[in-house]
């Protein structure tokens, strides 16, 4: 068995979550690596959209920007930002991958600011970009993030992107589309989902060598646990080979793990 780091593990786990024949709006970094790996192994028909306007590329290497010319490489379409966003708004986009500085138990994400005064933030982050858009439109929100107490918080300082907001029914009440919302969270410790009536984050699978205690210790809110707790299979040799040789040979992303 080949050794692997946490970044490689997260990418491999993420790559296995996408159904073949589905579509995904992905960002640079981990999402692109996961999307490329998924296409090569599990979802050859995964249709990739980038928020700046490209769709259906044959990705030669990792883009640095969701708008750079890697995203249009041999793509089927090179269009507009609204073309991608409107495809999402009319229901065409299955998955999106998002991140953030904070996430709460309902999957709400903060990538805007830390502090309690919007106009005088302790720390200011970039803001939504397309995150709120894709998190509002896409059917299933995937989050890939390192697991840490300061990230997994009881209440995010700012809801940049909607998870289940205040709980079951809140998205629909807010005016968001039916059937959309947080789907899975993939961390360096576990796979989590929201597949319970409370729409709260729950552990469903522990990565190799990780204990439930460890996950709870790194989570800043009361974590639910699925009835049947699985073990995440570690990255296969093939996954790692493709990831290292074909997808990220320069270690741009996996070097951070």
């Amino acid at each position: 068995m080949v050794k692997y780091n946490t970044m490689e593990n997260m990418i491999c786990v993420a790559a296995r979550q996408m159904e073949d024949g589905s579509s995904a709006a992905i960002g640079t970094g981990v999402p692109t690596a996961a999307g490329m790996l998924a296409q090569k192994l599990y979802a050859p028909n995964l249709l990739i959209f980038f928020e700046a306007g490209a769709a259906g590329p044959i990705l030669p290497t990792m883009p640095v920007s969701v708008g750079d010319s890697r995203t249009t490489h041999h793509s089927l379409l090179a269009s507009t930002m609204l073309d991608t966003m409107e495809a999402g708004q009319r229901g065409l986009l299955d998955y999106t991958f998002l991140g953030g500085a904070q996430i709460d138990k309902f999957g709400n994400l903060n990538s805007t600011m830390l502090g309690d005064d919007y106009h005088h933030p302790k720390v200011r982050f970039p803001g939504s970009g397309g995150a709120n858009d894709l998190g509002s439109f896409c059917w299933k929100i995937m989050v890939v993030t390192p697991h840490a107490k300061k990230r997994f918080v009881e209440k995010v300082d700012f809801i940049t992107t909607p998870g289940f907001l205040s709980g079951p029914g809140a998205r629909e009440e807010a005016g968001l589309y039916k059937g959309t919302g947080p789907f899975r969270v993939i961390t360096d410790l576990a796979i989590l989902d929201y597949n319970n009536p409370k729409k709260r984050m729950q552990v469903v699978s522990l990565h190799e060598g990780v204990t439930l205690e460890q996950v709870k210790d790194n989570t800043g809110f009361e974590l639910l646990v699925a009835d049947k707790l699985e073990k995440t299979p570690p990255p296969t040799d093939e996954e790692l080979r493709i990831l290292r040789e074909e997808i990220d040979p320069s270690g741009f992303i996996i070097g951070r793990g």
């Binding site: 306007g53 640095v64 920007s65 708008g67 507009t80 930002m81 708004q89 939504s128 858009d133």
Partner: protein, 330 residues
């Protein structure tokens, strides 16, 4: 019936359809030669206080030469549309040129990391800001391009992003569905870098258009920088490739490599070393000041900047990068 929510953010650019229509009525529609220089265009169209928007996507197809000139001329109190504003925001923040910003995405440089200087500027209290999303800002341009004062969309709802925006909830008169109404945004000036255009400003863009066709139509004035100027006949040969027509455009400047260090489809890839240099220099305020002085303030024009960054030889490498060609293998 529940009360419809109203974002409490400041609307920096209220849209008045009649005023806007009158402006476009009076705008020149003749085919006149609009060639000028970057300093003249900035001098003429961007007085202090102007609300500007940058085409492209932060580090992709941006009008770097115009942004540098804004710094060089020491413009102040600009308004900025932060529709994925990465390196553009970074340049303008370095000069503290703007004091209000509609934010969708600023400070960050996508996968490259965050700009310390931009972050500090946004945390300094010197900038007023209102929150949006990329799509919301793109639809705000779209509304102005359509000539309507708002568009309904289903983003931002239920979040603090909405709360800190200047959007308002509305109900669909047919289905009763709740929408976020976003107000039209008509920037005073848009600066857009394109692959080619004629002297009248008829532009072609290869690759993704992002929001630039809408932005050009939405804006009161448009400054075009182009990799190359082409004869009008070339535009007329394939009029369906025209993405920005002359009647939107006020100034045309030929600026080869004009998106550097940003990427330009089929021309050159982004210079990641140079982006890294910016981020490195930002770690030390004094070094950064000297860097900006040397590379921007003390250079006469964009060509001098390009020379400092490696000149034609470096541009040649970036062309190989863009085309995924390794010049060392046959």
């Amino acid at each position: 019936m529940e009360k419809l929510k109203v974002g409490k953010g400041e609307l920096f650019m209220p849209y008045d359809a009649d005023e806007s229509r009158h402006f476009f009525k009076e705008k020149n529609k003749k085919l006149v030669n609009k060639l000028t220089t970057v300093p003249e265009a900035v001098e003429k169209y961007i007085p202090d206080g102007t609300y500007i928007a940058v085409g492209g996507f932060g580090g992709v197809r941006i009008s770097t030469s115009v942004l540098h000139e804004i710094l060089r001329q020491g413009k102040k109190n600009l308004g900025l549309s932060g529709h994925t504003s990465t390196h553009d925001c970074q340049i303008l923040a370095a000069g503290e040129c703007f004091d209000r910003c509609d934010i969708a995405y600023v400070i960050g440089l996508e996968a490259r990391g965050l700009s310390r200087v931009s972050r500090k500027y946004f945390e300094s209290g010197k900038v007023k800001f209102t929150e949006w999303t990329n799509a919301a800002l793109a639809w705000r341009y779209k509304a102005a391009a359509m000539g309507v004062s708002y568009l309904p969309c289903r983003t931002m709802l239920g979040t603090d992003t909405f709360e800190q925006s200047a959007a308002k909830e509305v109900l669909c008169p047919f289905t009763g569905a709740k929408y976020a109404a976003v107000p039209a945004l008509s920037p005073d000036v848009a600066m857009i870098h394109v692959h080619r255009c004629d002297v009248y400003g008829n532009c072609q863009i290869d690759g993704i258009n992002i929001s630039d066709a809408d932005l050009a139509k939405a804006s009161k004035h448009v400054i075009i920088t182009a990799e190359r100027i082409v004869p009008n006949e070339e535009i007329r040969r394939q009029p369906w490739a025209t993405t920005i027509p002359a009647w939107c455009v006020d100034a045309v400047i030929q600026v080869p490599y004009g998106s550097f260090p940003g990427c330009m489809e089929k021309e050159y890839f982004s210079d990641e070393d140079h982006f890294a240099l910016w981020l490195k220099k930002e770690k030390d305020p004094e070094e950064f000041k000297a860097f900006i002085k040397k590379y921007i303030l003390d250079t006469k024009n964009f060509s001098e900047y390009l020379e400092l960054c490696g000149g034609i030889s470096r541009m040649n490498d970036l062309r190989f990068d863009e085309l995924l060609v390794n010049p060392n293998t046959k």
